[in-house]
Amino acid sequence: MLNRFLQLRLRGLIVLAIILLCLPAFLSNPFHYDLATQMAIIAATVVGLNLLVGFAGQISLGHAGFFGLGAYFTGIMTGTYGWPAVPALIVGAIVVGFIAWVVGRPILRLKGHYLSMATLAVGFIIAIILNNERAITGGPDGMPVPALDLFGWELSSFGQYSLFGLEIEGFLAWYLFASLILLLAVWFAQNLIESPIGRALRSVHGSEVAARVVGVDTAKYKSLVFVISAVYASLMGSLYAHFQGFITPAVASFEFSIVLITMVVLGGMGSTFGVILGAVVLKLLPQVLADFQELETVMFGAILMLTMIFMPKGLLPTLTAVVSKKFEKKLEKKAGGAS
């Protein structure tokens, strides 16, 4: 029974769901919920970015640009033009996906450092536009975003809701909603990875030339995954904007792009649950280090460096390797004792 469960493809998803459901037992105030909700939204973004970086092996140092575009599209459409939230979210994702497709085609011909340079440039250009078009975006001061309105049902951190007869606070409602979104994001990513598209992507990562030789249209799959990861970022950017209620160009900044890619690499490239761990660790670290005040930046840099030097494969793959090694040793001992 347990064995059958462990072989299940969706076991990770079930474990994640259980963790997300149990977490409120450890969250004691709105600030904790705020952090957990942000974490879930950003983790979902990183799951999308991992499809591009971890599975297809294409670096992006400008992904916050797409996150920012999604956030601002939603902010402007719902705030300035009074659109309902859901269409704004979807149209935003389509627009951002299209932009990603247009810039992706020429960019993805580049490799390694040149590709990272080009994606960095795209991200920077988006951030500069958001910073300078004051009339539309509010410039560096940012702009307010209305609460998320789901078909007439308004979701706000300050609201009160009743769910199946239970009275719940707005911040808990947002947390549950964001958790659901994260589960959906993981479910979609896992299905994509196991599909023929996923296999094609992994072949691109292994060796692009070899993939092309066996007939994989590498250019098509690379731009497809670039678009998918940009759509992930756009949707999550939109949700983030509604959740925060206020956005500044920082959502599209180079620093945030670096944070996103660091989450992927730190957690473990190519491991969906690894990158979620990466997102959690990197989002929690500044909170923990805040106690050290002036030493915060130094320690953050040092931890980042040391983890990557000693765990180049990332946190989760390294940890699971250690655990399974120990487990195997135990099994061997048992087998040795029996014979």
Partner: protein
């Protein structure tokens, strides 16, 4: 009209020379180890900040410069020895994150030591601007260009005339072969990081009187240097110089004639345009990839 153009050109060439020096630092490290060092900008910051703080403590200018450059050099060696070398065969992205971690670490230290304020450094010689055809040239610009030129010539001589320079070149071409003919490649890599740190810190010192200096100037200057290096074609020394000057001039012209808000956007659009048409930059080597 003409004086205006000349003014923008002066500004562009001055800042372009700084970009070129940073780009040369990138090139050096990239050639020796195929690492893009995202902490390159921090060497500039260290150079400028250390010089400012030492002179304000009463150390004579020349000695302060020498000490600041030495400090950056030691930092460069430490970076290679303690952060890059232990990672050995890590992925490109992993190495990028390591150098980013290093740059955050160095920036954090600088903030602890020197605080968050902007620091001002006096011009090397006179504060009197020079008039040329109606345009104003800051005397410090001449220092930037002069020292930049000396460094470039020095670097060329170093690579073509000295045994150590040739050893770096050999290592960059083929590490295994270099080791076989008796070159201590580990030493060479440390040396490459050191020279690159020296270049960066000198650039940081000469440009400090023009741009001011603070603990966080390394980010944007480092990025611009990276852009310049990629425009020139990573790994090409000539490319780094041309890319740096071109970036500086285009940026200054865009700021002058178009909009100063969008001058950074021009720089980043430029890199996209160059890469679209020349995927290996202006002077990048055509490499045949073996599968």
């Amino acid at each position: 009209m003409f004086s205006e153009f000349l003014q923008y050109l002066f500004t562009g060439i001055t800042i372009g020379a700084t970009y070129a020096l940073i780009a040369l630092g990138f090139t050096l490290i990239y050639n020796a180890s195929h690492v893009i060092n995202f902490a390159q900008g921090e060497f500039l910051m260290i150079g400028g900040m250390a010089t400012v703080s030492l002179t304000s403590m009463g150390v004579p200018m020349i000695l302060a410069v020498v000490l600041a450059v030495l400090l950056a050099g030691i930092l460069g060696i430490a970076l290679q020895r303690f952060a890059i070398a232990p990672a050995k065969q890590a992925d490109v992205v992993t190495l990028i994150i390591i150098t980013i971690g290093a740059s955050i670490f160095i920036r954090g230290l600088a903030q602890l030591i020197w605080g968050k304020e902007y620091h001002v450094m006096a011009n090397f010689s006179s504060d009197e601007p020079i008039q040329v055809f109606g345009a104003v040239l800051n005397s410090q610009s001449l220092w930037v260009l002069g020292i930049g030129a000396v460094l470039v010539v020095g670097l060329v001589l170093f690579f073509t005339r000295t045994l150590i320079g040739k050893a770096i070149l050999a290592t960059s071409m083929n590490k295994e072969a270099a080791r076989l003919v008796g070159i201590r490649t580990q030493m060479v890599l440390m040396l490459a990081f050191m020279v690159s740190a020296l270049l960066g810190s000198v650039a940081g010192i000469v440009v400090a009187p023009i741009t001011f200096t603070s603990y966080d100037i390394g980010i944007i200057l480092g990025l611009k240097g990276f852009v310049a290096a990629a425009i020139g074609g990573l790994g090409s020394g000539v490319g780094a110089v041309v890319g740096g000057l071109a970036l500086g001039v285009v940026e200054a012209m865009a700021a002058g004639y178009l909009s100063s808000d969008y001058k950074d956007a021009v720089a980043f659009s430029m890199i996209l345009l160059v890469l679209f048409f020349l995927p290996r930059g202006l002077f990048g080597a055509k490499v045949v990839e073996r599968v």
